[in-house]
């Protein structure tokens, strides 16, 4: 890529930002927010990291639900898979890795190795589980994924292989990187936030690419009408299986980050009530929108936090989300993102060309 090409891109980006509420301007604001959050008080950094992780969890879940119409009540299995993968590597291989690469850098290397192991583990589980599950549809798919999730939960609790430490889970200690006198605690709020933010942004971009690829376009078609897709020569079962695996992998990445954030990989991650968090966030945010799960996760985490500021109410936060879930499904299935779009259309007028929508058509501009 030549220098002028880069310069052209930059100036094009600049004019796009100046032009109006374009994708570029939203992107720039988002990047600024991500940087600014790093300087917030520690608890706010923590809360925002939590939001990013839950957002990625829901985003992965919605790849299956929003894009192929399969509602999984068992994605906690992959969330836990990522978390346990890294937790077990940290516990059992940490010392070995330290011997090989030296103690100074080993926490970072172990974290990376653990992340990769977690991801591989998740995919290894998702391949057979997905292959079996996508044979079923609708309620039956929800039930079989729930059963797989709870099967995982039972096995983690009962720990026949002696790996998961039963009900108590595996403690995650990320350690401190020590390089030439500079020491950085990997689990430190701001450092871990940086790791999470980079990972989540990269994963989100990856999912966005998938959604807008030929593969993702076919996914959307399957959601709209599976038998029509079949009649066009699409092997819907196979496609759903592939989507299942990609979806699980994304959730697995979120699980890896969850382990470091929570400092423990606990069996509760694979319980159906954890899987339900992805459902809640996605439905509230709007399942038909790419950004729906992210906005939903934001609402979920921050409203929960706001409620927790009032201990008299704290115990009853689930009531709020239960009621919200019912209201959204009954009266406004577009969810929060749909609501935001409505508001934007009112404010900007209908002539704005849907810049923040998720669909493939929004990318027409950069083809040339």
């Amino acid at each position: 890529m030549s220098a002028t090409d880069t310069g052209g891109r930059v100036s094009r980006f600049g004019s796009a930002v100046a032009e109006g509420w374009t994708r570029e301007r939203f992107g720039l604001i988002g990047a600024l927010v991500l940087v600014l959050v790093a300087f917030a008080p520690p608890f706010q950094v923590y809360l925002f990291t939590d939001f990013l992780v839950v957002a990625l969890f829901a985003l992965g879940f919605n790849l299956l639900y929003g894009y192929t119409g399969l509602l999984s009540f068992g994605h906690g299995l992959f969330y836990a898979g990522g978390a346990y993968g890294i937790a077990i590597v940290l516990r059992d291989l940490g010392p070995v890795i330290a011997d090989v690469v030296g103690a100074g850098i080993s926490p970072l290397v172990t974290f990376l190795v653990g992340g990769v192991v977690g991801l591989v583990l998740v995919v290894a589980v998702a391949v057979p589980v997905g292959w079996l599950s996508v044979r079923l549809e609708e309620i039956y798919f929800a039930l079989i994924t729930l059963a797989f999730g709870m099967l995982g939960y039972s096995l983690i609790i009962q720990d026949p292989a002696g790996l998961t430490n039963g009900t108590d889970g595996v403690i995650v200690l990320l350690g401190t990187v020590d390089l030439g006198g500079v020491s950085l605690r990997v689990g430190g709020r701001r450092i871990y936030y940086a790791i999470s933010a980079v990972t989540v942004v990269a994963a989100t971009y990856g999912v966005w690419r998938v959604v807008n690829s030929p593969f993702g376009t076919v996914c959307k078609a399957i959601r709209e009408s599976p038998d029509r897709a079949v009649a066009l020569g699409i092997d819907v079962g196979h496609h759903r299986w592939m989507t299942f695996i990609v979806s699980a992998a994304v959730v697995g990445v979120a699980g890896v980050l969850r382990a470091g954030l929570a400092s423990v990989a606990s069996p509760g991650l694979t319980h159906w009530s954890t899987s339900a968090i992805a459902v809640i966030a996605t439905v509230i945010g709007g399942a038909t929108y790419f950004y729906g799960p992210i906005v939903g996760a934001f609402i979920f985490l921050y409203i929960r936090w706001a409620i927790s500021r009032f201990p008299a109410l704290e115990a009853y936060w689930e009531l709020f989300f239960g009621a919200l879930l019912i209201a959204v499904v009954l009266f406004f299935k577009q969810g929060a993102v749909g609501g935001l779009m409505l508001i934007r259309d009112r404010l900007v007028g209908d002539d704005a060309d849907e810049p923040s929508d998720d669909d493939a058509r929004t990318t027409d501009g950069d083809g040339s």
């Binding site: 593969f215 959307k220 709209e224 038998d227 079949v230 066009l232 020569g233 669909d359 990318t363």
Partner: protein, 257 residues
Amino acid sequence: MTTVLKTEDLRKRFGELTAVDDVSIEIDDDKITSIIGPNGAGKTTFYNLLTGVLQPTSGSIWLRSEGGGELADVTDAEPHEVAQAGLSRSYQITNIFEGLTVRENVRVARISHEGTRLDFRSRATADESVEADIEELLDLTGLTDIADTPCDTLSHGEKRTVEIALALAIEPNVFLLDEPTAGMNPTEVTEIVSLIRELDADLDATFVVTEHNMDVVTDISDRIVVLAEGAILADGSPEDVLTDERVTEAYLGSDSV
């Protein structure tokens, strides 16, 4: 004249009911063939057998593959394999991707045809030749003006046209149209009939139509096959078939119920 689709002694039983009863038929590429029959004659079951949605109890189905190869046995093929082999269909009750725009609908079909279904790295819109094909198809079916409209906001007639565009986009050898004029007003019927005539003239695909509207049937068909109680009752040119007494009887008999 070439045979593009052939069934041999095709039979489908549901318990005690024989829905399709030893149907043997050869479809030729130089004619528009209409398959008609009273309600319950087995047309839908017959279509579902041809497209692989149902498995026949006995008999076989042969389809000429793309590019004029040999007839291949597709009796046991999965529905998507039948479609890939060159048999496309439209549905009696409109079945399109409602949440997508017209162009996206067609793009899905083109992606399927191009075999890039599992490509998750590149952009769906990145392949310029695919995009050009889409434009051409939209132009052919007269959908260019509404290409970026989400389908759930289209009129019934427009949706029926999208349905045809979708089925055509996979470049079928054989195109099964299941009641293309169902639910249309007279203006829309005229438009769709002329579209089918145009397409038949412009494309290599062989059209097979089921239809209730007898005016449409006589208008577009070169050959009519009448099904009754799962079996072929009559087969021939429109003039011959429509004057056949057994056909009149079958229809009147069913209508009088």
